[in-house]
């Protein structure tokens, strides 16, 4: 379990985290969703001991992240955003050194390395230099390395950034498998579909504040079930409806062509934060076109 209490991080004049508090339950896959600079990586860096917070507390399976840092670190695995493998060493050597850092015995290291390389489907690559692997393979080595000491909590910072869709889906399957094995997973991403597909709960992070935190289904339900897109003067205009019938009735009263589809997590993010996360993780302000209909708003923030 991860418990964060009023976590604050200031970098000189910039406030990266603004009193963030939440809890991640055992075995949960929790996604932190937000644009670049929203504080996602800062949170992971603090929880894994890479950055000191300005204020606040965090507990990893009951261990205080600073007062009991070595014990807390033993329970965590980290897959950072940037590939940080030893390029001049082989896959096996990278994993072996990691196991030694976590004080595993030689038998444990050998057995876990073999098992994990098979798990990430890289057992035929164990004696290759990491430098000679593809980007997707390196990512999978990083996942295997983070799991080597059997952590109870796995932190992944943008685990699929820069990967092609096929490899991304492969990593997603791997993460699902890891969660099914009982590991708590804390994931940051700016790929909305990644959070929607993987996470049990999602936190929308914006300028160091959690603006929404709920299951993907509940977050979507807050704005409606159906989305109606229409191009008006070159701009996409989207309206949300609690039911398909309601949307259809609206279309019948209008002229022009519409596209009717189910609401997705991106719609929820756009509407609830007023921002759009682009493919590269940067943020774009969206127009007020992305709003629930008056009828939907009348049903309150929890949706229809």
């Amino acid at each position: 379990m991860i418990e964060i209490v009023n976590l604050v991080k200031r970098y000189k004049t910039v406030k990266a985290l603004n009193g963030v508090s939440f809890r991640v339950e055992n075995g949960e896959m929790f996604a932190y969703l937000g644009p670049n600079g929203s504080g996602k990586t800062t949170t992971i860096r603090i929880l894994t001991g890479l950055t000191k917070p300005t204020a606040g507390d965090a507990y990893l399976n009951g261990c205080h992240f600073e007062r009991d840092s070595l014990k807390a670190k033993r329970q965590c695995g980290l897959v950072p955003q940037v590939i940080n493998l030893d390029m001049e060493l082989t896959v096996r050597e990278n994993l072996d050194l990691h196991g030694r850092l976590f004080q595993m015995t030689s038998e444990e290291r050998r057995a876990r390395t073999d098992a994990l390389l098979e798990y990430v489907e890289l057992d035929d690559q164990c004696d290759r230099l990491v430098n000679h692997l593809s980007g997707g393979m390196k990512r999978r080595v990083m996942v295997a390395r983070a799991l080597l000491h059997a952590p109870e909590i796995l932190f992944l910072d943008e685990p699929t950034v820069g990967l092609d869709p096929t490899i991304r889906r492969r990593i997603w399957s791997l993460l699902k498998k890891i969660q099914q094995a009982g590991t708590t997973i804390f994931l940051t991403t700016h790929y909305i579909e990644e959070a929607e597909f993987l996470a049990d709960r999602v936190a929308f992070l914006d300028f160091g504040n959690i603006v929404q935190l709920d299951t993907p289904d509940n977050l979507k339900a807050r704005i409606g079930e159906w989305a109606l897109d229409k191009m008006v003067d070159g701009h996409m205009h989207t309206q949300y409806f609690p039911s398909r019938e309601g949307a259809q009735a609206f279309i019948d009263q209008q002229q022009g062509s519409f596209s009717l589809r189910r609401v997705n997590l991106e719609d929820a993010f756009l509407t609830l934060t007023g921002k759009k996360v682009t493919a590269d993780g940067s943020v774009a302000q969206v127009s007020t076109d992305h709003e629930p209909t008056a009828a939907l708003l009348a049903t309150g923030p929890d949706g229809p």
Binding site: T48, G49, L50, T51, K52, S69, L70, K71, K73, R74, C76, L78, P80, V82, I83, N84, L85, D86, M87, E88, L89, E93, L97, H98, R100, L101, F102, Q103
Partner: protein, 244 residues
């Protein structure tokens, strides 16, 4: 202190992978200095009743062990800024003293390897010196001191370029002025006073005396030990500070 071994092992695995290149690189400077200063300029010079080559070799040992121990800073910088491995260490249950111990031992190992290269070159040049226990103790203390300094400074610098600047300002002047190429007693008293403050000076003095088969004075060993331990402690503090 548990956990230093993976840090040391990692440096050794990397060193092993490029061992021939490293040995070739370690040989270049001593060979050049030996040709230029020893065989070229110093062939007819005697210092304290010994040939200039006999004077120069212990100086080259002191200088080479300093340079190679300090070079661990470059490896740390590559791990920190280029590969990002330093964060893997920071996220593991590894104490700061264990990290510094692993890197310092790696620096000492590199230094010993480079000293063996110099000894081989000296042997091939016909110079016979005594490589006794005092000699190796001085080499190890000198390497420990400069490896600790390197680790501390590697935590302070913000880029590879900063590291080169530090090498230029710290190591290069010391290499020439720390009793390596000329006896300090030929210099004016006030210059001697300044040069004796350089950490390489007691190392050159101890290494030279023991290489001549004399019982070296204890004071240089004391200075090297105290300074080495101080820099080691400082390196631990700077590693802790580098966390953010």
């Amino acid at each position: 202190m548990r956990g230093w071994f993976p840090i040391y092992l990692r440096e050794m695995l990397i060193l092993r992978r490029k061992l021939l290149r490293q040995i070739a690189s370690m040989s270049v400077s001593p060979i050049l200095y030996l040709i230029a200063f020893g065989l070229g300029m110093g062939s007819d010079i005697t210092i304290h009743g010994r040939s200039y080559l006999e004077f120069l070799i212990p100086g080259l040992v002191a200088m080479t062990s300093m340079v190679q121990a300090f070079a661990i800073a470059t490896e740390i910088n590559v791990a920190r800024f280029y590969w990002g491995i330093f964060e893997e260490f920071q996220a593991s249950p590894l104490s700061d003293p264990a990290y510094v111990t692993g890197e310092a031992l790696a620096g000492i190992t590199r230094a010993i390897l480079s000293v063996l290269v110099v000894i081989l070159i000296a042997f091939l040049s016909g110079v016979r010196l005594s490589y006794n226990l005092f000699f190796w103790l001085a080499v190890i203390l000198n390497s420990f001191l400069f490896a600790s300094l390197a680790i501390g400074l590697a935590m302070v610098v913000k880029s590879h370029a900063d590291q080169s600047l530090l090498t230029n300002f710290v190591i290069t002047p010391m290499a020439f002025l720390g009793g390596t190429f000329f006896p300090l007693d030929k210099m004016p008293i006030w210059v001697q006073s300044i040069l004796k403050l350089l950490p390489l000076t007691p190392a050159s003095e101890a290494i030279r005396a023991s290489a001549y088969g004399q019982t070296p004075p204890g004071f240089p060993y004391l200075i090297l030990t105290v300074l080495g331990c101080t820099l080691f402690g400082l390196a631990i503090k700077l590693v802790k500070k580098a966390r953010d």
